[in-house]
């Protein structure tokens, strides 16, 4: 529930937007970001459907890399556990 994911804004109809990550699109509430500080193509950190912060593409990539790493660790452990 508390896990945030970086997403890329693809459409804005402030205060709502559509954002994408890993090919999945979601409606995102932008109310926590001032309207003049966000545009299509920006990356945001999303928690339970709200963008909580604008982040750089580099930060988004790094966080995804880490998320993938953590998820892979989990899969690896759980798979070996279930084997």
């Amino acid at each position: 529930m508390c896990v945030g994911v970086p997403m890329k804004i693809t459409e804005i109809n402030y205060p709502m937007a559509v954002a994408e990550a890993k090919g999945v699109k979601r409606n995102v509430n932008l109310m926590l970001i001032p309207e003049d500080e966000i545009k299509v193509g920006d990356f945001v950190m999303v928690h339970v459907g709200s963008a909580i912060e604008v982040i750089s593409e580099k930060a988004a990539d790094e966080i995804w890399e880490a998320l993938d790493e953590v998820l892979a660790l989990m899969d690896e452990r759980e798979e070996s556990g279930n084997a």
């Binding site: 529930m1 508390c2 926590l32 339970v48 709200s50 880490a66 953590v70 989990m74 690896e76």
Partner: protein, 361 residues
Amino acid sequence: MDIEKIIKAYDNPDKLINLIKEITPTDRKIKIMNVCGSHEHTITFSGMRSILPDNIELIPGPGCPVCVCSESDIINAINLSKREDTILVTYGDMLRVPTGIGSIRTEGKNYKMVSAPHEITKIAQQNPDKNVVFFSIGFETTTAPTAAFLEIGVPKNVTVLTSQKLTPEIMDILVEDTEIGIDAFIAPGHVSAIVGANAWKKFPEKHKIPTVVAGFEPENLLLAIAVIILQLVNKKPSLENVYRGVVKNEGNRKALELIYKYFEKTDVNWRGIGYIPNSGLDFKEEFGILDARKRFELPQIEEKKIRDCICDKIILGKAYPSECKLFGKACTPGNPKGPCMVSGEGACNIWYRARKSQQGV
């Protein structure tokens, strides 16, 4: 301390682990508490505890929002869902949290799960003759989205049962507890994106405890631990932020503005811990119309201890999950007896899944 220099010189996990091994004093225990389910997750699944020196204790604190949600609020939510004229809406994890009378899933009647508050609007529009009650639980990372949802404007049939808690305030209590004896804090990354790194300043300043804001990446956490040990060795506790790509010193002003537009601080009950002054949020008087507690005159229900469950000790860092006699036996993620086994952020749940794989069970 020049973090940039450390980042440059120790640019991979192995170097960071070696640095930590080199500088950690061996003559005493060093207790570092995290208050974020994602931190605990990374620490446990990466096997960090077994890699670092034995005298570094990484303690999971009250970083799991569903674990500390008051039983009274959950029972009120169950009872609301039993009303014919009402639909209770909440996040998936909350549905399975056990209380003395069962969970929302086992005892509730009309309930729905959402993954974002804005999904509630559609449910309310499709059910205009029902009261739709949003059971809004969590820390600052879920409270800000609730405020954002309210700010957009909600249908008239929506009210909110608030059970929102404030992280810096609970840490303020834990730090005073000599039984736990915390030497340092790893502050939660995404909570800090809302409240700002500066919200933790009082820990090094007032309590003389090194405090580092970190993300959940293994490397970022190792960096935080290295910085903490350096501060302890040099006896210079300070606040550092190693998650600068996401966390600003002042936090998210708009989010804080919106949170405190609708809510004000109040004393709240942390499950297993008790009432802590000004550690939660409730509606301001002028937004009483949105307040489910008022609308349905919800009572305060006394908390019942779940037999043999030691979640209360675990969330205070006074015991590890493996010390509970139900752990992995009567209590598993498929059949949670206590709140710490329910969500992926609960220490028991995380430890169970990691241990299960290690043992090849």
